[in-house]
């Protein structure tokens, strides 16, 4: 029917704008992972390709497939109110990692070598991401890490029952095998100095994260048996499990709080409660995390803020005061006000304060940096000191792993640009003809597959940490992958050939095809809206609203004049300039 034309690669602003609206999962990913493509690869059982698509964009498919905060899923079109649940994008990423067999690496050879050296301080997700990109771009990269092993929060913040150490090790080694030099056990300000690094390298990138626990500053915080959440996890993950008592209270609402609570259970505490200042509704951890925590026996109390930790040396309890939540404020979190006179006490013998961390101030002899923190320009990652950059949580405060990875990659691009005057990667929108819908409508009604978890619950506890989420078996992965609408498909009506029979509107599963009197475009030329009409006289066109379209293909099937075409539109990266064999 259509002769397949050659794919076009576009860098026009309107096409980038189109992608933002039309592939919401990709737009939602800080690293702009090509989600539909990797899900399609899972469907085709090409796990290697799926793994590589992820590897390119987010570096750690096995790790992220287990612990990512998955901002893509809340944007997934399949999760829109009347369409059901979002596709389990994250679990599919894990499936790609689980099933890929022997890894066949990316074809991307290392770019031609550039004789510049970069030092990266911190081997966490941000640092490793920057290292990978800079190494691929041809620079010589050295990573310096203060802890005994690389990984940062991935190793020291996240418990092994959520992220097995073997997976982490494997994926870090893959990155390092690009020729990155890693030195561990060296701390800034002790074994190495910033001034020294600035002297030896053309650029220094700080990616040291946030490791200074935030204090509540309440009486009793310094007692024994009061742990900071991060310290608790770090000690546990470093092989020095802390001692917990019989009744543990965890103060905090993030992943760390949940990790601490579940770890406390595994360390033998019979009674563990998480105490929230707001409510369960306001939690940012995933629903699955909350469910598993509850199933393991963690209790969640809400609307309370700790005032005093009671005891003397040994803790006997915590005094709380009730809070009243208000409307969501800046940043989306609800205001909370303590309610006078509502104090009460909960018994406890162990308290974990998991209310977040901040970055560590660094000593710099160079007067230009000033005392304490290094501040950087958001877009260029440059600090006032020439050659000094910073990225990741160190700059933004605690964020998520995927955000840190994206920040690392963006910093690498900025550094390369500063050093060579050009970019080595660019993003393009690839447009190619597609002939079919690629998937039958019936797949839209497949229910979301839950991930199997380790049962019975008591098997999760024991000397050796056991992974709780077990990953999809192959069949389930395939079934779940069918649910993706493949939003990279783009359906378009050729208005010149349309006869306005409106059969397409009749068979449309929702209000995705519209009769319009006006189509509005933004300053880049992308469609930004339309004025619908039901009055025949006013109709000037008919349009498929790609933000509502679920790519079922019914319109194309029924069109009697075959004026509806489908193309595949993907946002990808490509290298610019020459590359050479490693």
């Amino acid at each position: 029917m259509f002769k397949k034309a050659d794919p076009i690669q576009s860098t026009r602003a309107e096409d980038f704008d189109y992608m933002k609206v039309n592939v919401p999962c990709q737009e939602g990913c800080p690293a702009l992972t090509n989600v539909p493509a990797y899900i399609r690869a899972v469907y085709k059982n090409d796990f290697n390709l799926s793994y590589n698509i992820n590897l390119e964009a987010n570096l750690f498919p096995g790790v992220l497939g287990r612990i990512c905060s998955r901002p893509c899923e809340s944007k997934c079109r399949h999760g829109e109110k009347e369409l059901g649940k979002p596709v389990n994008i994250c679990y599919l990423k894990r499936a790609a990692a689980d099933f890929r067999g022997r890894h066949v690496p990316l074809e991307n050879p290392i770019h031609q070598s550039v004789s510049r050296k970069v030092a990266i301080v911190g081997a966490g997700p941000a640092g490793l991401a920057a290292a990978r990109d800079l190494a691929l771009s041809g620079l010589s990269v050295s990573v310096l890490e203060a802890m005994e092993k690389p990984g940062g929060m991935l190793r020291y913040g996240i418990p092994a029952f959520r992220l097995p150490r073997t997976i982490l090790k494997e994926e870090i080694e893959r990155i390092l095998s690009l020729g990155i030099e890693l030195t561990t056990g060296v701390r800034l300000g002790e074994e190495i100095t910033l001034d020294g690094l600035l002297g030896d390298f053309n650029a220094v990138l700080l990616a040291t994260g946030c490791y200074v626990p935030r204090q509540l500053n309440i009486p009793g915080e310094r007692f024994d048996s009061v742990f900071s959440g991060l310290r608790f996890m770090m000690d546990l993950n470093a092989g020095q499990p802390p001692r917990v008592g019989k009744k543990v209270l965890v103060l905090g609402a993030g992943f760390t709080a949940f990790d601490c609570a579940r770890s406390a259970l595994r360390l033998g505490a019979p009674d563990v409660s998480i105490c929230l200042r707001r409510t369960e509704e306001d939690l940012s951890v995933t629903r699955e995390e909350v469910l598993e925590a509850k199933r393991e026996g963690v209790r969640i109390e809400s609307l309370m803020v700790a005032k005093t930790i009671l005891g003397n040396g040994n803790i006997r309890g915590v005094e709380f005061i009730r809070t009243r939540p208000g409307l969501p404020g800046h940043g989306g979190k609800r205001e909370i006000t303590p309610i006078e006179g509502s104090e009460f006490i909960l018994d406890a013998d162990t308290v974990i304060v998991a209310t977040g961390q901040g970055p560590e101030p660094l000593a710099l002899k160079d007067k230009r940096a000033g005392e304490g923190m290094v501040t950087v320009d958001k877009g260029s990652f440059r600090s006032p000191v020439s050659g000094l950059y910073a990225t990741g949580d160190y700059v933004t405060g605690p964020s998520t792993v995927i955000q840190a990875i994206a920040a690392g990659r963006n910093a690498a691009a900025a550094i390369f640009r500063d050093m060579t005057g050009r970019d080595f990667l660019e993003r393009v929108v690839t447009i190619e003809d597609a002939v079919t819908t690629d998937r039958p409508r019936a797949w839209d009604f497949l229910p979301a597959r839950e991930i199997p978890t380790l049962e019975p619950i008591r098997d999760r506890f024991g000397k050796k940490p056991k992974e709780v989420e077990l990953g999809y078996p192959g069949e389930q992965a395939e079934t779940e992958s069918k649910r993706c609408y493949l939003c990279y498909l783009h359906y378009e009506i050729d208005i010149k050939r349309c006869i306005y029979c409106r059969y397409c509107i009749d068979v449309a599963p929702r209000d995705c095809i519209k009769l319009v009197k006006k189509i509005m475009t933004n300053e880049n030329g992308a469609i930004s809206g339309f004025e619908e009409t039901t009055v025949w006289k006013e109709v000037n066109g008919i349009i498929i609203d790609n933000s509502r379209c679920i790519r079922c293909g019914a319109c194309m099937e029924i069109c009697p004049v075959e004026c509806i075409s489908v193309s595949k539109v993907q946002l990808t990266e490509r290298t610019i300039g020459k590359s050479e064999e490693p």
């Binding site: 109110k81 369960e280 199933r295 026996g297 809400s302 009730r322 009243r324 208000g326 609800r334 006179g341």
Partner: protein, 338 residues
């Protein structure tokens, strides 16, 4: 449809009382009452008496079908609300009808809770919320001799009473989480325990249910700590969780229930919550509480309607009596009566 449209979600005692009151206070308004169950409005606290065989099914239904027509209140039974948009004043129904409202009262009540650790045994446990549930109890009780009641909430007591009336053997496993909104403490537990024992109930204080399974002979085997037990059926009364999951992402402040101020207002103009689903900070109790009991539900329903209609009435319930078991109080009379 020019007149104001008021919607009440929930046809339990709170919702129906709100409807009647609203009709009196706003005679010209259009009023719709909705319930996700297809059943007629019934009196929940009488279900245990029905189970005991003391009353007939018809006695459970206080309102004649013509009541609604006479009051010109539109009833939508078996129609579920899936989303409320408080900022823009409309709600979405399961079958995708969009209803706009000028005022809304949420009286959705609570659902018998099965906390996560008990989820694997869900299918083996009987709960009690609707008339259908009560019929299931009645049918099953005819076949068995003994019942394990896991609970601590007020319903568990009433049902235990009913089972004793039918001369069956009762084992009672006290679960401290089931007492919410009462705060569980040792004193309360002992009082509770004694009352039950006086009646011939075998009380198992705060044991952990390790497992539940169906035996070959059809009975239910229970493993509680180190003790094994075989009973004919198991009833779970682990508290009523306000049935508000459909309001997630709607913008309401919610904890266990919908958080409201002392006027039962949710923070959005014209939108109130009442009955078992509303959670309010009670200055006398110095804590959050959710109303429990039939009388409270009815009173709160009335108050919410008054406030929606423009009056300013505070929700006041004397807090002390709810907690002190020894004192008789009309609001919780059947507790004391036990």
């Amino acid at each position: 449809m020019k007149e104001e449209h008021f919607i009440i979600i929930g046809m339990g005692p709170s919702g129906t009382q709100a409807a009647f009151t609203l009709r009196k206070q706003a005679p010209d308004a259009r009023i719709t009452v909705m319930s996700k169950d297809a059943e007629r409005a019934f009196t929940p606290h009488m279900l245990p008496d029905y189970i005991a065989g003391k009353i007939s099914e018809e006695d459970l239904y206080p309102y004649d079908p013509s009541t609604w027509d006479e009051l010109d209140i539109h009833v939508r039974r078996g129609q579920r609300v899936t989303d409320v948009n408080p900022a823009n004043g409309y709600l979405l129904l399961d079958h995708r009808e969009v209803l706009r409202f000028a005022g809304l009262i949420l009286a959705v009540g609570g659902r018998p809770q099965i906390p996560e650790p008990f989820l694997p045994y869900q299918n083996l446990m009987f709960t009690l919320k609707t008339v259908q549930d009560a019929k299931r109890w009645t049918r099953k009780l005819r076949e068995v001799d003994s019942v394990l009641v896991i609970g601590g909430d007020l319903t568990s007591l009433a049902v235990t009473k009913a089972i004793l009336h039918l001369e069956k053997r009762v084992f009672f496993l006290i679960n401290k989480d089931a007492f919410w909104p009462l705060r569980y403490d040792k004193e309360l537990m002992e009082e509770f325990s004694n009352r039950l024992s006086e009646r011939g109930v075998e009380v198992i204080p705060s044991g952990r249910l390790k497992s539940l399974f169906r035996e070959v002979n059809g009975k239910i085997g229970c493993q509680i700590d180190n003790r094994s037990l075989q009973v004919g059926m198991v009833g779970a009364f682990l508290g009523l969780a306000p049935d508000i999951r459909f309001l997630t992402r709607s913008g309401f402040s919610m904890d266990r229930g919908i958080l409201v101020d002392e006027y039962l207002n949710t923070g959005f103009e014209g939108i109130y919550a009442t009955g078992d689903c509303a959670q309010v900070y009670h200055p006398e109790l110095r804590d959050y509480w959710v109303s429990i009991g039939y009388e409270n539900a009815v009173t709160l329903g009335r108050i919410a309607a008054f406030n929606l209609a423009g009056c300013r009435v505070q929700a006041k319930v004397s807090g002390e009596s709810i907690f002190k078991v020894r004192e008789v109080n009309v609001n919780t009379s059947w507790w004391a009566e036990f």
